[in-house]
Amino acid sequence: MHGRGLTKHYGGVPVVDGVDLELRAGECFGLLGPNGAGKSTLIRLILGLAPRDDGELEVLGRSVPDAIRAIRARCGVVPQQDNLDIDLTAAANLRVYARYFGLGGPAVEARIDRLLAFFQLADRRGAEIEALSGGMKRRLILARALINDPELLVLDEPTTGLDPQARRLVWQQLRRLRREGRTLLLTTHYMSEAARLCDRLAVMDGGRLLALGTPEELLRWYVEPYVVEVPLDGEDFQPLSQAPGCRLRVTGDTAYLYTDDPGPLVDRVRTAGFDPPYWRPANLEDVFLGLTGYELRED
């Protein structure tokens, strides 16, 4: 996939604002960003599900929207909102969806069996959709997205709303799909998910890509190796701002001190009369907060 200057406005406001993005065959690419960053809109542009206002776009070597039918035949899509067909059973959902691709017959039936087993849904094949748990529905949507054996899999928040067990199962399956050589594009706001699954990441906010690289590169480029977290409890954080060799960020009731060397800093914070701080290696969440800001988003 290859996009240049992708742009989309809603009501005169740019929601995707000149995005350049290139996916390499066989990689797992993660799109991170707070709510309202424009991730879903970017994905809809890439899939030709929303007309773009500007930019050039090729997916699987074909141009969007001219070759959209051929492109879609080779893509699998997991939408942000569940849209299983509630008038049909679990297996019938896959069977009918396969028909939309012009696929049917014994080969599809065998594939349905394999997909239901792969996502641990074999005992639910005759179940009504409303009788499935949130995690089962999400897995069934993943199975549905694979019915046409896609080369490119596009997943919009595949694990949002899942419990930790279900999320791990989905991760395991996504890693397996990547090993099979499929290209994956996923959005998430779970940093741990991005760190575990993705070869490369982009952090998106306000319709722009703020940073793009491997998880290691993002950590190296955008944040110091360690963080000292100081619980504030309503205290004034001004005394901390004079601490040497560190960068201070405050959100809510916690101060974050980013540093190369946490030892002396911890002592200093303690002697300054604050509650005992705790330090840890910086992670993608710190990169994310650093790039997109520490304020609460309403959206």
């Binding site: 809603y10 879609r72 046409n148």
Partner: protein, 261 residues
Amino acid sequence: MAPRLALAIPHGRSVAVWMRNLRVWRRYAVPSLIGNFGEPLLYLLGLGYGLGRFVSGMADMPYLAYLASGVLCATAMNTASYEGLYAAYTRMTRQDTYGAMLATPLQVADVVAGEVAWCATKALISGVTLFVVAGALGAIPLAGLPLAALPVVLLMGLTFGAMAVLVTTLAPSYDFFLYYFTAFITPMFLFSGVFYPVDTLPGWLQAAVVALPLFHGVELVRPLFSGELPDPLAVHLAVPAIYLIGAFQLATVCLRRRLLV
């Protein structure tokens, strides 16, 4: 990017949309079929037997046969309208069935075509049901060409299905459909010659009725019931066909504007 002003032509794949609806319908076919009998049977019994006592015949036909030929078209209109309004609106909004379809190779025109074809299929199912009921009541003159009426039922189903889907693509809520029925479907039902000849109406109303599709359906079916060819055949076919093609094109544009934004 500039919108394209080409005519929308559905792909053969739209059959998959039709098949999806057929598969769902088969799960609830029995209650749905029983429901189909109800209303047309009431019209035939209530009006046919009741009024038939006072009206010996109309247009040289027994009144029951006259009524059956009109109610056949009206039933097709109602069945296709309900399917294309309420059921399609649910698929478009609450169930996001169209959203799921459009993430596959299916395009908007395919979805609309599959839905319209399904509306017509349901119209045909209720038409056949009515045929059986009316036949049992002796309302269908076997001397005529009654089976030739079924393609007309299909045409009515396609036309009113396309119009209903168009209204659905514009509807902000289910309440909107009541306006469509009150302003359009019910007046057509009452004034298009289903119950009595149109030439009893004032001239301006006749002109309006002739410009609408249901009248032409009735004008196609009624002669067939008495073994004659409709006249002028081309006009009675062309008016519904124009509504069908126009509504299909507009529905495709409107659905695209609604879903692919």
